[in-house]
């Protein structure tokens, strides 16, 4: 287990981070300009970290595959960002946010990291506000807050239903400022193809220029991955269609361990699938559950219009099953409860795969104007897609793949098992355990970017002051480039009959069926077989038109799908290994009599970190035991 030293600082939980900061190694300002940092991904973690490094004086090269950092999918986060500020005088504190996050994560997250997240949360809001993020305000001018699922305090800051956009644009503007000042060199429209390791340390990356098709090499003193999550493994998810797992998979293949890959959050409130051509599912913010009530008809297969069904014949199943939290239970619980109702024939809509989210009572009590103020843009978006007005008739919602708690395994420094390779934001596994609390994703990305990685990466770089940036002509770079080229050429030369998207769709289907909201051994084993078959077919019957040295969107898709196929296997392997239910990972074999998820703490209270052994070999499992010294590990109950 020597591979997995989480390097958690000594001392009491609340003092770990301040002790770390007080004793860490520093790089003096005049040395910082000698050090280069590569940041891959410029979303809510990447943009801030690139900006912060530049503000400190480092030379930064930032990469994204989009045309601009402002397009990163963090932009689509709707509901909010948590901060333990106790704004509402309702008993909030760093400890409380820490506790809620640990509990929400079903006791599968690392205590020290989570506490640090809670500790810096207030500063994150301060920083964003200072950048001009227009958070909602009270009439008196102070921050307004709303409540989110899984907690009993009101600590979520928001900017209407576009919080992610505003928070991202805050980071983006900080990044652009540094670009203007010449401290960050921005490389947009670059797809990362590989990480270059020299003498055991991450020293650079190889990318494909998506405009010219050229393969380019970039060297630095360290590499920070902020490349987001892999929810698009399901093809249909709430993620942007180009979000991908490629950078994480490249790191994994180079020896970085992958933590808890099977921990994927299924979001309960998405617009259900409307047609077979659909390429993406639209999320309806969780904040809607503050005022909306979720129900299905009590009678199986009731085809009446929702308005015609009287209250007595409605089953508000979340309120019934979880009276303490009601409609605000955490996401995994809400998702499964909806699936349970639909599987038993109580679902609504054309496909029977939907439940109602009803605002009738909220509109009656608070008035249409207040509701419009809170959710106007979400209601408008829903109406645009479905043609129904949520003011008049209840929304129909169904769960969809959303966020990946799993990711590259990192220690307390956010460093992967490859020295000099860091992973921040959704790309790492660290803070959310088996289920992420609502409004914690923006927080984690921003916290890592503004207030964690700038310290921990400096701690690493302090030992690199005398190291020169390697030449991009060194054999390691040449080899990485050649390998990447070989793969790209392979895609172009298969010349089969099926498109990359068609493979992605089929992969998504396999994963949603067998490794989605509910998993069992039989299905998972079947998935392994199906994935293998799909992989074989992919590599023999793929068709990619066009050439390498031009804009070639199909080629981009192909390399993403190839990585997804490999990751799918890893996810299933992890899901098979973990025979307990916890958070978003629900094994049918492990449940209570009442059908609730059942953890098996004696056996699975660990992080499963997988080590790559070769393309067709089983990965090796490393376990990071989780110690809970500051919370009592309990059955997660929201009843």
């Amino acid at each position: 287990m020597s591979k997995l030293d989480a390097k958690i600082p000594e001392g009491p939980l609340a003092e770990k981070w301040s002790r770390y900061k007080a004793t860490q190694k520093l790089v003096s300002p005049n040395n910082r300009k000698k050090l280069d940092i590569i940041v891959v991904g410029t979303g809510i973690a990447g943009a801030p970290v690139a900006a912060s490094f530049a503000e400190m004086g480092y030379n930064v090269k930032a990469f994204c595959f989009q045309d601009s950092p402002r397009r990163a999918h963090s932009v689509a986060a709707q509901g909010g960002i948590n901060a333990a500020r106790n704004n509402k005088n309702d008993g909030d504190s760093a400890y409380r946010l820490f506790y809620d996050t640990i509990k929400g994560g079903d006791y599968r997250a690392r205590e020290a990291n989570v506490y640090r997240l809670a500790e810096v949360s207030a500063s994150v809001i301060d920083q964003l506000t200072a950048q001009g993020v227009p958070f909602a305000r009270e009439y008196g001018g102070t921050l307004a807050n709303r409540t989110f699922g899984g907690v009993q305090v009101s600590r979520t800051n928001y900017a209407q239903g576009q919080t992610g956009q505003q928070v991202l644009l805050g980071g983006y503007s900080a990044l652009k400022r540094q670009v203007g000042l010449g401290k960050v060199k921005m490389y947009a429209r670059r797809q990362m193809l590989d990480i270059v390791i020299i003498d055991g340390k991450a020293r650079g990356i190889v990318t494909r220029n998506l405009v010219t098709g050229e393969i380019e090499r970039y060297a630095a003193h360290c590499v920070v991955l902020a490349t987001g999550g892999y929810g698009t493994i399901y093809y249909l998810s709430t993620l942007a269609v180009q979000s991908n797992a490629s950078a994480a998979m490249q790191a994994y293949r180079k020896g970085a361990l992958f933590g808890n890959p099977s921990f994927i959050q299924i979001h309960p409130t998405c617009i259900p699938v409307l047609n077979e051509y659909q390429s993406k599912l639209t999320l309806m913010s969780e904040s809607l559950r503050n005022d909306g009530r979720i129900w299905v008809p009590k009678k199986e297969g009731d085809k009446r219009k929702p308005k015609e069904i009287p209250d007595a014949e409605r089953d508000y199943f979340l309120e019934r099953r979880y009276p303490a939290f009601g409609n605000l239970v955490p996401r995994d619980v809400a998702s499964r409860a909806a699936k349970e109702r639909c599987d038993n024939g109580f679902g609504v809509g054309k496909t029977g795969l939907a439940v109602y989210l009803d605002f009738r009572d909220a509109v009656a009590k608070q008035g249409k104007k207040v509701i419009k103020n809170k959710y106007g843009n979400l209601f408008a978006m829903y109406e645009k897609i479905t043609g129904d007005s949520p003011y008049e008739t209840p929304m129909m919602i169904y769960p969809a793949g959303h966020y990946t708690m799993g990711g590259l395994w990192v220690d307390y420094n956010l460093q992967t098992t490859i020295p000099g390779l860091f992973a921040i934001g959704e790309a790492n596994f660290s803070d959310h355990g088996a289920n992420r609390l609502g409004a914690n994703s923006l927080l984690q990305g921003a916290a890592d970017g503004y207030f964690v990685a700038p310290y921990t990466v400096s701690n690493y770089l302090a030992d690199e002051i005398t190291t020169k940036v390697p030449s991009t002509d060194s054999p390691e770079f040449v080899e990485a480039e050649n390998n990447a080229k070989v793969i790209l050429e392979k895609f172009l030369n298969i010349n089969g009959t099926k498109t990359a998207t068609s493979f992605h769709k089929r992969l998504g289907n396999i994963m949603w069926t067998h490794a989605g909201m509910q998993r069992n051994e039989e299905g998972l084993k079947k998935a392994l077989v199906e994935i293998d078959e799909l992989k074989k077919e992919f590599w023999s019957d793929l068709k990619i038109p066009g050439k390498m040295d031009e804009i070639n969107q199909e080629l981009e898709k192909a390399s993403r799908v190839a990585d997804f196929i490999d990751l799918a296997k890893l996810i299933v392997t992890d899901a098979l290994n973990r025979k307990e239910s916890c958070g978003g990972h629900y094994r049918e074999e492990s449940r209570t009599e009442g059908g609730e998820a059942m953890r098996i703490d004696e056996e699975y209270s660990y992080v499963a970190a997988w080590e790559y052994q070769g393309d067709d070999k089983e990965p090796t499992l490393h376990k990071e035991e989780l110690k809970f010294e500051n919370v009592e590990v309990k059955v997660r109950s929201y009843k």
């Binding site: 900006a51 999918h73 932009v75 505003q166 942007a240 409307l274 993406k280 498109t499 804009i551």
Partner: protein
């Protein structure tokens, strides 16, 4: 339903483009416009033809990737929409749909329907920020922002940077884009400190990059997916003029 498509094809930035005609059968009225294009591409690839390059990502009208000018409308028909929110139910069976890229000197075509909107990033880098480093921020509640100002700032901040304003404007003016950012930050106490410098440098950059000037037709606000109003352009003018008259640069 069946539709005819007339789509701009251009191999790369330097190539001369042309319109290419396609016919697509079995289009579902519930498909989004992007999904329709996806299915066209699937068909083209299977036929061994070159697919149509176009940009899209979030499908929630927030990333701003879409850059399609459809039948004379940036983003296609409908109010407050990005192309991902346009559904095929907005078109008639048998209709010919002409799809063009954004047209502006500031947004050169890269391939087919893809345009280079780097100019917006350059304008942002010229001043679309508050100069504050991580760690310098005061307590967020020490900066009081009235609800009305906060809401108004949000209205401006809702810009998704898609460039539909430029595409809609007969002058290819980027004023609405610049106005949104300048106004957002000028409305907030945190942004007021460097409001003048910001207005001057962002406008200078906008001019330098070849965008036209605003002649107040209002086409931009009609086509803006987030309905950002041209009252912000008045605010930008105000900010710019007062900065020009007061600051010795």
């Amino acid at each position: 339903m069946k539709i005819k498509l007339n789509i701009w094809k251009q191999a790369n930035a330097k190539a001369k483009g042309r319109f290419e005609k396609y016919e697509l059968d079995g289009v579902d009225a519930e498909m989004s416009f992007l999904e329709m294009l996806d299915s066209l591409n699937e068909k083209l690839i299977k036929e061994g033809k070159e697919p149509v390059a176009f940009e899209h990502d979030c499908h929630e009208a927030i990333c701003g990737c879409c850059s399609l000018y459809i039948n004379g409308y940036p983003h296609g028909p409908g109010k407050e929409v990005a192309t991902c929110q346009v559904h095929m139910r907005s078109f008639k069976d048998g209709e010919t749909i002409t799809v063009e890229p954004w047209r502006a000197k500031g947004f050169p075509v890269m391939k087919d329907l893809m345009v280079d909107r780097d100019a917006f990033d350059k304008i942002m880098a010229a001043g679309g920020f508050v100069s504050i480093d991580a760690g310098q921020a005061p307590d967020a509640n020490s900066i009081l922002v009235g609800k009305v100002d906060a809401d108004k700032a949000f209205d401006a901040a809702a810009c998704i940077g898609c460039g539909a304003c430029v595409a809609a404007c007969k002058n290819s003016s980027a004023m609405l884009f610049v106005a949104a950012k300048v106004s957002q930050l000028a409305l907030l106490p945190q942004g007021k400190v460097e409001a003048k410098r910001r207005a001057l440098s962002m406008v200078a950059k906008m001019d330098e990059l070849g965008f036209g000037s605003c002649t107040n037709t209002g086409a931009c606000e009609i086509e803006c997916p987030k309905s950002i109003g041209i009252d912000f352009i008045a605010k930008l003018n105000r900010e710019y003029l007062s900065a020009s008259f007061s600051e010795s640069e």
